[in-house]
């Protein structure tokens, strides 16, 4: 297979607005033909970074290469090759959904079949509806359709499923997976950790304008902190006797009467120890679950739990 350079490669990126540094030496790359998710709290610099890659604003320092081009200098050559989905807006309020999509198609040399795309995204019932009267979800799907209709090599999706109902969200995920299968590179931002886990080949977590960590979702969830298991049973069990049977470093507490949580390295052996102990105490552990560390746990560990403005 032919070796492709990364679809997006950013190094040492700096962007300041007045005295505020929005992006502070960021490194980021998005592999060719892969889905890359950029996660970060509000104000972390995600949108600024993506908009620099899209050619909307120049960088103050650092290098940016998108499909091998500098978006600030080679915008005219780059724009036909990328698809852009903005966080909101982008359409004339009185333009009809299908009219706007047909318009975007006509700006490209080899666009997708507009009718099929409309049907595919469930917009056929509102094709003649003016943009301002579309629901939020319909507006999002139209923006997604506008990003892919020109058959780009790379699409930038800024929070593509914000405000979508579960069905529309799944349809969007399905489309993003298909883009990947067909060789389109995807760079998306999201606040939904499950979305990143479901879709992304690689995740980059950024905070305060810097890259905090990057890796596959599996890599990020595997390392570091402990897992947990939960079960429920009779209230008031003697957890001290359980802890004696468990490896040190393991914790067990009764969260609410009858609801127990064990935290530590949850392996098959530990699970067997807990069930054996339950049997000895005449307890049938109900709703027993083992929870893998999620991307959300990783995210909160790395970026803190306090609210961001």
């Amino acid at each position: 297979m032919q070796q492709h350079p990364p679809a997006v490669e950013v190094a040492g990126l700096v962007k300041r607005y007045g005295t505020k540094t929005a992006v502070d030496g960021l490194a980021l790359s998005a592999a060719h033909g892969a889905v890359t998710a950029v996660l970060g709290p509000n104000g972390a610099g995600k949108s600024t970074t993506i908009e620099i890659c899209e050619g909307y604003r120049p960088a103050d320092a650092g290098t940016v290469r998108v499909l091998g081009l500098d978006p600030a200098a080679d915008g005219a050559a780059l724009r036909p090759r990328i698809g852009v989905m903005l966080q909101s807006g982008g359409v004339y309020p009185s333009a009809r959904a299908e009219e706007m999509l047909r318009h975007m198609a006509r700006l490209h040399a080899h666009p997708l079949d507009v009718g099929e795309l409309i049907e595919r995204l469930g917009l056929d019932s509102c094709g003649r509806t003016p943009y301002r009267r579309l629901s939020g979800g319909q507006q999002q799907r139209l923006a997604l359709a506008m990003a892919v209709v020109g058959r780009p090599e790379l699409v930038f999706l800024d929070e593509p499923t914000a405000g979508l109902d579960p069905q529309a969200r799944r349809a969007t995920w399905e489309l993003i997976r298909e883009l990947r299968t067909d060789g389109v590179s995807v760079l998306l931002t999201t606040h939904h950790m499950d979305e990143a886990e479901q879709l992304a080949d690689e995740v980059a977590i950024i905070d305060a304008g810097r890259l905090v960590v990057r890796g596959t979702p599996e890599e990020l969830c595997r390392g570091g902190a402990e897992n947990t298991m939960r079960f429920s049973g009779r209230p008031g069990l003697d957890l001290a006797s359980l802890l004696k049977a468990l490896p040190p470093e393991t914790a067990a507490i009764e969260l609410t009467p009858g609801a127990y949580r064990v935290a530590g390295t949850i392996d098959p052996e530990l699970l067997a120890t807990v069930t054996t102990w339950c049997a000895q105490n005449g307890v049938l552990p109900e709703q027993m679950t083992v929870e893998r560390r999620t991307l959300e746990d990783v995210f909160l560990e790395l970026t803190g739990k306090e609210l961001r403005s």
Binding site: P80, I82, A95, L107, A109, E178, D182
Partner: protein, 255 residues
């Protein structure tokens, strides 16, 4: 959709097709907007028909329609090139339309060309409509049609520059208010309906240098008085066009 649907096949459409399709969309958006139609079609038509038929304002010597028709044409150009374009573009900026288009294969100059084309299409419709109304009211135009076309084009350039400058620098709501205010002031004080000779001398000298007065008086010189080419008015419009377009190009903010 089958497998392989999304296999990349990027490319821009030919520039001519992009500009034409953009101009078509812009024109449809303008025609679909009721407030814009009020401004660009109804007000100039009413000014022309009402004040020609009813003796409300003193338009000086000669038939009232011969005075008012050039003024209505100038008003139509101002309504479309300045007020309509300022408001429309201001809200396109607010709604992220300009931002989205800036990431499309259509270059910025192509978008501006399409906007100009769409303004010219609307103005052509206005000229046809106002000419028909004026002729029905007994208008007898004089002069060189090429001079009229040149003045209309210079007026379009002057008003477009000012309209885009406003749209690209102010908030959309501020543009809406200011563009309407300027429209009403210049309609009353710009030689459209009321002869400039009705104003005191000092005020009149200032008013003569506004683009609306230059356009309506220039058109009147040709259409009412049969002048060959009013270079003074053309010069004022050209100066406004250079200043307005240069300032718009320099200060226009796309977001």
């Amino acid at each position: 959709m089958s497998a392989g649907t999304f296999v990349p096949a990027p490319g821009a459409a030919p520039i001519g097709r992009m500009i034409l399709t953009q101009a078509g969309l812009e024109t449809r958006m303008l025609l679909r907007n009721g407030e814009q139609l009020l401004l660009t079609v109804i007000i100039p038509s009413v000014v022309l028909a009402l004040f020609s038929a009813v003796d409300i304002i003193d338009t000086g010597a000669g038939e009232r329609v011969d005075f008012l028709a050039p003024g209505a044409l100038a008003l139509a150009v101002m309504a479309t090139s300045f007020t309509g374009q300022a408001i429309g573009t201001g809200f396109e900026r607010r709604y992220g339309v300009l931002k989205r288009l800036a990431a499309s294969p259509l270059p910025r100059w192509g978008l501006m060309a399409a906007k100009t084309l769409s303004v010219l299409v609307i103005q052509l419709l206005q000229v046809v409509l106002l000419t028909a109304i004026a002729l029905a009211l007994g208008w007898s135009p004089h002069g060189n049609p090429l001079a009229v076309v040149l003045l209309l084009l210079l007026g379009t350039a002057a008003f477009s520059g000012l309209g885009l400058l406003m749209a690209g620098t102010l908030r959309a709501e501020a543009t809406l208010a200011a563009a309407n205010l300027v429209f009403i002031l210049l309609m009353v004080a710009g030689g459209v309906m009321v002869p400039l000779s009705k104003f005191p001398d000092g005020v009149r000298t200032v008013l003569e240098y506004t683009p609306i007065a230059a356009l309506s008086e220039g058109l009147r010189d040709v259409l009412q008085h049969g002048a060959s080419m009013p270079w003074g008015a053309a010069g004022v419009l050209a100066a406004w066009a250079v200043v307005g377009l240069a300032a718009a190009a320099r200060f226009f903010k796309w977001e």
